[in-house]
Symmetry: C2
Subunit: 214 residues, 2 copies
């Protein structure tokens, strides 16, 4: 039976689009995106979901909740009642969720981080800041990582990583875009497909991929 996928977004939804495109061309391991939840009212990601005919489109605004924990509980309830997902994908979702989320969907939440973890991750390493950190450090390679979400920020078991070149004169914005185009939009759908094909197994910090990554 095909897996039900819920995608959490906060903004423009380019990673969501990569997932929608993969599904359209049959490259999501048979998985079906049934719900998109935005933390931002009016996020363009919701328009993308509508254009792709995704039935469940929800806004759960962070501003309507007084704490991360209350927001997380509402998110878990929304997902359970309206989406019943087999897999939750955080695709540029910029709100911090608490442990109730991980408890509700153990080893069933994927996140994409725009660096080669353990480099440039953890507290303060989100959005453009990640690329600012990489450029300030002077690395010549960066990239993206898809990992299972655990309680430790950016610390969960790693599914896939892809390297991207840093070039002379890069700004954080230019590097961010290159990491998206060359890494995130590639490995996020690939990791979701592997999950939907039941090819991922987690053993401690290690993710085993049956049949290899390709």
């Amino acid at each position: 039976m095909s897996k039900r996928i819920a995608v959490l977004v906060s903004g423009g939804g380019t990673n969501l689009q990569a997932l929608l495109d993969a599904q359209a061309r049959g490259a999501l391991g048979g998985g079906e995106i049934t719900a998109v939840v935005s933390s931002t009212p009016g996020a363009y990601a919701l328009d993308r979901a509508k254009a792709a005919g995704i039935p469940g489109r929800y806004t759960l605004s962070r501003k309507d909740y007084s704490s991360s924990q209350l927001y997380t509980k509402a998110m878990v309830q929304l997902l359970r009642e309206c989406a019943a997902p087999d897999l939750v994908v955080m695709a540029g979702f910029l709100v911090i969720l608490t442990r109730e989320m991980v408890d509700a969907f153990p080893n069933a939440i994927l996140n994409v981080h725009p660096a080669l973890i353990p480099s440039f991750c953890g507290k303060g390493a989100y959005g453009l800041h990640v690329h600012e950190q990489a450029l300030a450090y002077g690395v010549k390679l960066t990239g993206a990582t898809v990992h299972f979400v655990t309680e430790e920020p950016d610390g969960g078991p790693i599914v896939l990583q892809k390297a991207v070149e840093v070039r002379e004169g890069d700004t954080p914005e230019v590097l961010q875009r290159r990491v998206m185009e060359e890494a995130e939009w590639n490995i996020l759908p690939q990791a979701v497909a592997l999950f939907c094909e039941n090819r991922l197994s987690v053993e401690g910090r290690l993710v085993h991929i049956s049949g290899g990554a390709t």
Copy 2:
């Protein structure tokens, strides 16, 4: 005028061999390896140097010195008096040198580290331990980094990096060998060539490469 290169080694000297091979095929930017210094008596690297006709072959045994500082002073003296290098390359050199070395050859010492710095570097991250750490963390990509040596262990400005895939079932030994073959033997000669062609300039933590990396 061609640059004089001194290479510091501790063991088998496979990275030295990569440099010798590059020089033989004219791919070292006109640089010439004039001296090889081993911290270990009888290291096979010295045989490689002899076979390649390198005139200066020295052993400076760490055991003959009571402190890192005294050893470093002897190393600086040996290099200055017998080799007068424009560039010092640490190629699998496992002895810690003190700041006198950096002061003697500022922005003129290159080291190769078998990971994508800032991942898996610093204290305790040397030799096989680096690969043990990478496998324990569960990364799917690792690699190698060539950087200028500063006082901070593995913390100097980065010249080149290359990524290498981690595969299911890898042992530290298997991964170490793959990182050598696919990354170290490639980017170390390349970085040395860039230095010898005067194409590297250091600005704070950043290494600018005139004309790009290739």
